[in-house]
């Protein structure tokens, strides 16, 4: 199963009642509160993503403490969910604006 396919059910829920990454950031009670907030919608997709994030410590050179795995995974999952439209966006030859200038 591809990551996108695994996330599909959550995308539909978000269309009805959007939950974006920001819903996680200011959850009362920190990590525990966030987990409660997202228990139904986002964490259902969690096991694969949690495992992926644990394994990414090889790349980040920093193991994520266990207490932070669940809320961090939830946040990453939400962002992946609502990135579907962005990923599908056809941008042609447009170049990145990494040093952005409005002029």
């Amino acid at each position: 199963m591809t990551p996108d396919a695994a996330l599909t059910p959550s995308i539909h829920r978000h269309r009805q009642k959007p939950i974006t990454r920001r819903a996680l950031l200011q959850g009362a009670g920190g990590a525990a509160g966030l987990s409660t907030l997202l228990a139904v919608s986002v964490l259902a997709q969690g096991p694969q993503l949690q495992e992926a994030i644990r394994q990414m410590s090889v790349m980040t050179e920093s193991a994520l403490p266990e207490r932070w795995v669940e809320p961090t995974t939830s946040l990453v999952g939400v962002i992946l969910n609502y990135s579907a439209s962005l990923r599908a966006l056809e941008l042609g030859e447009r170049e990145p604006a990494t040093l952005f200038m409005a002029r």
Binding site: G27, L75, L86, A102
Partner: protein, 471 residues
């Protein structure tokens, strides 16, 4: 000292100071007295710099008496969001990580206000590292909304918004990565302008996300905002993204006239899921501008539904990159909300970050096409009223959503495009909460944005209302 001077806007104080009818020392004392009386309720300041401010006010008074008047900011008491480096004054960025940091330099924006003669009263409270919109700061306590002490003031420049609204300073310096000047301005009933990216130097402003961070003033009126922006704008060799375009006279077009100006009313996005009272106030504001001679027409702005994802990828990636050194050594000193954001920033894909940066070019094309038809684009600043402190959700018309989703929704497109946008008061709810009107323009066309905002303000009295703080 008559408290009434503390309540006046910069544009009315400056002539009094220039004519020596008002002493900067007396004005500062009136402000410090108000801080002493009211800031225990609001918590808008992290650090009050009473001693250095008194010295600066005495110096200003001396210069003016000696015939050396520097201009409209001379002797004006201002506050600085605690994200800007201030030489010799603690700069916490609302964090425990930087709780004891005393810079040995000024941010360029701070230096420019100092050069203009402003008196720095103190450093205002903010959302930790500017990473949020409620100002529920876990280290320095929440800032309270002067219009309703049980509610948030917006953020991340929430201390600045509250302090200006409550006349605990005459103006304040803020930063805006996703709306952090315009959001507290709308929530607190003051004026805030996010200028074009590159117009004001970011040097010395602790970054949240370099490529969408902006610096600008929060003020009591549009004319004040124009005067304050004029002192900030211009190239800075220390900021490589700064523009070397000439800085126009921002006050020149403030005639109260908008005849012939074309207002763009977005067909998508900006009027969806909005509180009915906000919608009514903004629609009335558009009618008012039409009665003043402006014309309104619909404009199409597709693709804005991608803004939230773009903002997430850009902000998380850039913020985590900036904070990595502190994350290695001080990770437990971050508040929970900011920590989760920073941790998550390690696990997003570089391709999504780059795609977000590429999509900014698309958004600029979208707005570019709209600005071929109109001169400014008008919308609500926010779709909902501020929640009670500690509450997470707000009602945006038919949509119940998280406060940060709601508050960023209409402001973030102008961070991603870098276009200038102002929030100006345009009404109050039935429960007495302010409503903000957002007016955005072409790149570097701050003069038109200010002109339209000023004309609206000149024919309304919303900006003259003051919160009642008792005593």
């Amino acid at each position: 000292m008559d408290d009434k001077f503390a309540l006046l806007p910069l544009s009315q104080l400056a002539p009094l100071i220039r004519k020596k009818d008002l002493s900067p020392v007396e004005l500062l004392e009136a402000i410090l007295t108000r801080i002493e009386r009211f800031d225990s309720q609001l918590n808008s300041y992290i650090t009050v710099l009473a001693d250095s401010a008194r010295a600066e006010a005495r110096q200003a008074e001396k210069e003016i008496l000696n015939g050396h008047y520097r201009g409209p900011l001379h002797g004006i008491p201002v506050s600085i969001k605690d994200l800007f480096a201030t030489r010799g004054a603690r700069t916490t960025c609302g964090s425990k990580v930087l709780a004891d940091w005393v810079p040995d330099y000024d941010a360029t924006a701070v230096a420019r206000w100092r050069e203009a003669g402003a008196v720095i009263v103190g450093k205002t409270n903010m959302h930790e590292f500017a990473y949020g919109v409620t100002n529920n700061n876990p280290h320095y306590g929440p800032v309270r909304n002067p219009w309703d002490l049980e509610r948030v003031p917006g953020g991340s420049s929430g201390g600045s918004g509250a302090a200006v609204a409550a006349s605990l300073c005459t103006a304040s310096l803020g930063s805006d990565t996703g709306g952090s000047i315009r959001i507290p301005s709308a929530v607190c009933g003051v004026v805030g302008i996010k200028p074009t990216y590159g117009r004001v130097s970011r040097y010395g402003a602790i970054p949240l996300a370099w490529s969408i961070d902006h610096v600008g003033p929060l003020a009591k009126s549009v004319e004040d905002a124009a005067l304050l922006l004029a002192a900030l704008a211009g190239p800075d060799p220390k900021d490589t993204t700064g523009s070397d375009r000439p800085v126009p006279d921002y006050t020149q077009g403030l005639s109260g006239e908008v005849g012939g100006v074309r207002l763009g009313i977005p067909e998508q996005y900006f009027f969806e899921h909005v509180d009915p009272e906000i919608l009514t106030a903004v629609q009335q504001a558009i009618r008012s501008l039409e009665q003043l001679g402006a014309s309104a027409q619909p404009v199409s702005l597709p693709h804005l539904e991608n803004c939230a994802a773009m903002e997430a990828h850009i902000t998380l990636a850039e913020a985590t990159s900036y904070h990595e050194p502190h994350m290695r050594t001080r990770i437990d000193d971050y508040g929970d909300g900011v920590r989760i954001d920073l941790e998550a920033g390690r696990y997003l894909l570089a391709t999504d970050y780059v795609k977000s940066q590429r999509a900014r070019a698309l958004l600029l094309e979208v707005f570019g096409r709209a600005f071929e038809q109109v001169d400014v684009i008008v919308s609500p600043t926010l779709p909902a009223f501020p929640p009670l402190i500690g509450e997470l959700y707000v009602q945006s018309g038919d949509l119940r959503e998280h406060v940060i989703d709601a508050f960023l929704r209409f402001s973030i497109p102008y961070n991603l495009t870098g276009l200038p946008a102002i929030s100006v008061p345009c009404g109050f709810s039935s429960s007495g909460l302010p409503i903000g009107l957002q007016i955005a323009g072409r790149a570097f066309d701050e003069p038109t944005v200010l002109r339209v905002a000023h004309a609206y303000e000149a024919h309304t009295e919303w900006h003259l209302r003051k919160p009642s703080l008792g005593n």
